[in-house]
Symmetry: C2
Subunit: 141 residues, 2 copies
């Protein structure tokens, strides 16, 4: 797909200098943020056409049809664009209830916890607060 | 702030080659996604220390204490990091109920609407579906 034959709604989207835009997947029912991945024009077009989330895998350098290996497909109920047209929001139904490759519902499972101690002062650390729902070895067989 | 004196929790965060990481601000009460902006290590450290969202403005090339002009400060109730450590999630209380510079509650006020017509086929467009709550000229005086 070249720029010249992109439909107008796709031309409205500001892809970065690598042709990518970040896309947030949010659980439409609970409001939980599930993950953030990247899309190029082709993956966004396929997402809109099929109603299934398709991303661009930067590590594998190819289209990534979310759930293609895990079965954890995201059905896209709504697509939104922000004021600068450089971030997408997908409201999705997460098949299987697991979005993260670690087997958790959401990729945002680490919380910054801060403790204050009169002697040592303030210290913070990332703490894993969400459970693994399914062993990744059973997801990616 | 140089890498060598960053606390461990900040070293756990994967900043990109420009020293930045995207940060999603989510309304802690409603779950609505308000905006996405960028942070560098300094803005993230200040956010964690003060409990007030501080971003890095790429256009102005300086720290951006959210609400510094508009008064629409974000009180950060929780900070989360995703599995790849390259996206942050801030659960916030949005002072004034307006996050977007357009005067809307959220920056994600455009929805992709698709219509199908037997003759012309399928067409999509971004439709503004959220109201302006306050005239931006009154916000940025």
């Amino acid at each position: 797909m070249t720029i010249s034959n992109l439909p107008e709604w796709l031309q409205d989207v500001h892809f970065d200098d690598q042709g990518l835009i970040p896309a947030i997947a949010q659980d439409a029912a609970t409001g939980n943020i599930l993950m953030v991945a990247w899309m190029n024009a082709e993956s966004l077009a396929e997402t809109a056409a099929t109603g299934r989330a398709v991303f661009w895998s930067r590590s594998r350098n190819r289209l990534w049809r979310k759930g293609e290996e895990s079965g954890h497909v995201q059905q896209v109920l709504e697509l939104r664009l922000d004021c600068d047209a450089d971030v997408l929001l997908l409201k999705v139904e997460q098949v299987g209830g697991i979005a993260c490759h670690t087997g958790r519902a959401s990729c945002f499972y680490r919380r910054l916890d801060t403790t204050s101690d009169p002697e040592s002062g303030t210290s913070s650390k990332w703490v894993t607060v969400d459970p693994i729902l399914k062993d990744p070895e059973l997801i990616y067989k």
